[in-house]
């Protein structure tokens, strides 16, 4: 049996630069695995260990995925192998496009019974891909999985954390599970993990070998928000005076 964990590589939000026209640039950004996807890889590793399965990584995106350091980083965190599907048309791919490609790649692995996705990606955080992927495969799919309790022949028993409850649910296999951001802390790779990561197999699959795909949403613009003009009134006085002044302002604003 195989457990496949899907993860996304995206430019580090911290490296985003804002141009004078409010457009944003990631030219100098480092491409990283998002925090939620690092958790997904850890969850996948734990679930694969429970199921005595091999743990395979699957990553879809633009050619920045050729980055050796990022591949090694993923492989040092409990993956046995990695498949990457790279194409520059996949920069800012919408959720349906990404899920369709992932589905085509998962279908190639006859041994796969469980697919793990993270809560959401670090760049768009739409929290959609796992659910769409499951439906495209025709497999049960569910989000919010906070703990896998038991893996049987035909089903998985797991906890699901919703906004106001914790559910114990049984999901028929094969299935796609999206795990919560706090499923398990992602491991810190040891020197041994890092060294062995370099020797693990990586398969590159061409997009056209998986089929033809199209986006369903058009991106019109990505712009940094204009900051709101604030009044910038600083009150620096003795406590009682400061309080009186502040309350006066609040009254003028109609807030008290």
């Amino acid at each position: 049996m195989d457990v496949i964990t899907c993860y996304k590589l995206s430019p580090d939000n911290q490296d985003m630069q804002i141009n004078p026209d409010y457009t944003v640039s990631f030219d100098r950004a480092e491409w990283i695995i998002g925090d939620f996807d690092l958790v997904a890889i850890e969850a996948g590793a734990q679930i694969a260990a429970m199921a005595e399965a091999s743990h395979k990584g699957l990553c879809v995106g633009p050619t920045a995925l050729s980055n050796k350091k990022a591949r090694k980083n993923a492989l040092s965190r409990g993956l046995d192998s990695l498949t990457v599907v790279m194409d520059d048309s996949l920069w800012n791919a919408d959720t349906n496009l990404t899920a369709s490609i992932l589905a085509a790649a998962v279908r190639k692995d006859q041994e796969c019974r469980i697919v793990i996705c993270g809560e959401g990606s670090a760049d768009f955080y739409y929290r959609q891909t796992g659910m769409q992927l499951g439906e495209l495969l025709g497999w049960p799919a569910i989000n919010g999985i906070s703990k896998v309790l038991e893996i049987g022949e035909a089903s998985v028993t797991a906890l699901r954390t919703t906004e106001d409850s914790v559910q114990k649910i049984v999901i028929p296999l094969p299935a796609v599970l999206s795990v919560t951001a706090d499923y398990a802390p992602s491991r810190i790779p040891t020197m041994k993990d890092i060294l062995s990561a370099g020797k693990k197999p990586v398969e590159e699959v061409a997009l056209e070998d998986l089929g033809s795909f199209e986006s369903k949403v058009q991106i019109d613009s990505i712009l940094a928000p204009k900051s709101r003009d604030r009044k910038g009134i600083i009150i620096d006085a003795a406590v009682d005076e400061a309080v009186d002044l502040f309350v006066e302002h609040l009254a003028k604003e109609g807030l008290v």
Binding site: N13, D94, L97, Q128, R160, D164, S165, I169, K216, I234
Partner: protein, 309 residues
């Protein structure tokens, strides 16, 4: 052009909020899963038609996905709006795959007026706004509380109830047990006034002091992320910022909050931003309407006392 707009949320208050907000855009129907009283609640919020699917005593709300898909196929709405909850996301995602469309996820602005639905979502951890257009056909949108402007007076709809037969799905996820967990009863996204605390507050024992000020202002209590995650002094639902709550309050009073960007994006839409901070050079002091420089342990009680006078 009057559009066929549908609304679904497993949270009744969110369903009502979205329904009332979208009323002007066309013919509004609600997909109701849960107690019978939902049909009335939907009509009150403006629903012309309420499709009643059934309750969740024997099956999860997610199990109705096939029933909703059949209904969408038969009735062909142009837009389906989902409340931003785990269940809303799960059902929207499956429908998107089923109908070969994508989802405008977590729209913080939505334009339903044209043939093509446009939405704005926050991306890159709040660093940018992504504006996108659905490519026609069925459009699915996920949105949170208070995104749509509601009219002053909410007009009820005809509320015609249509009973929809259950479609047995190919597979079922079984719910064995469900335990309620403690969640904050406050809805900061809808709060008019918020007093929010950060790491400038030294200990959990000091929270009642700030709460007293919040009460004097008739405000809700919120916080920055470290207070809720990490210190866990307040529930997770109380933190404002990226991956937390986004507020639109008339007043946001930040107490002992330095003003990191991850926090600030969550309160961009607050009308008046005030801050109490002992450091006149804290980032928040350069981005606020009113900044009081001083020790919060002196200012907060004095302000509470002054306001309760």
């Amino acid at each position: 052009m009057a559009k066929k707009v549908w609304v679904f949320s497993d949270k009744p208050a969110l369903m009502q909020d979205i329904t009332a907000g979208v009323k002007e855009c066309g013919e509004v129907s609600v997909i109701a899963v849960g107690g019978r009283e939902l049909t009335d609640a939907a009509a009150k919020a403006g629903a012309d038609t309420v499709y009643y699917l059934g309750d969740t005593s024997e099956r999860m709300a997610e199990s109705y996905t096939d029933t909703i898909a059949k209904l969408v196929e038969d009735e062909k709405p142009e837009v389906v709006l989902f409340g931003a909850t785990l269940t809303g996301r799960a059902i929207a995602g499956r429908l998107a795959a089923r109908f070969g469309t994508s989802v405008l996820a977590d729209a913080k602005e939505l334009d339903l007026s044209g043939d093509i639905t446009k939405g704005v979502s926050m991306v890159y951890g709040g660093g940018a706004n992504l504006k996108q257009s659905a490519k026609g056909g069925l459009t699915l949108v996920i949105l949170g509380f208070g995104v749509l402007e509601k009219p002053e007076e909410i007009k009820a709809g005809a509320g015609k109830v249509v009973e929809v037969p259950y479609v047995e799905p190919a597979w079922n996820i079984t719910l064995c047990e469900e335990q309620q967990r403690e969640s904050a009863s406050v809805n900061l996204a809808a709060a008019k006034k918020i007093v929010s605390i950060g790491l400038g507050v030294a200990g959990k024992d000091d929270i009642p002091m700030v709460k007293e000020l919040a009460d004097a202002l008739d405000a809700e209590l919120g916080c920055s992320r470290p207070i809720a995650e990490g210190l866990e002094w307040l529930p997770k639902e109380c933190y404002i910022g990226i991956s937390g709550v986004f507020v639109k309050s008339d007043l946001y009073l930040a107490v002992g909050i330095s003003g990191q960007v991850q926090h600030m994006v969550g309160l961009k839409d607050a009308k008046i931003l005030a801050a109490i901070n002992k450091d006149a050079n804290a980032p928040i002091m350069r981005q606020c309407d009113y900044g009081i420089v001083g020790d919060l342990y002196e200012i907060v009680p004095a302000l509470a006392k002054r306001l309760s006078r």
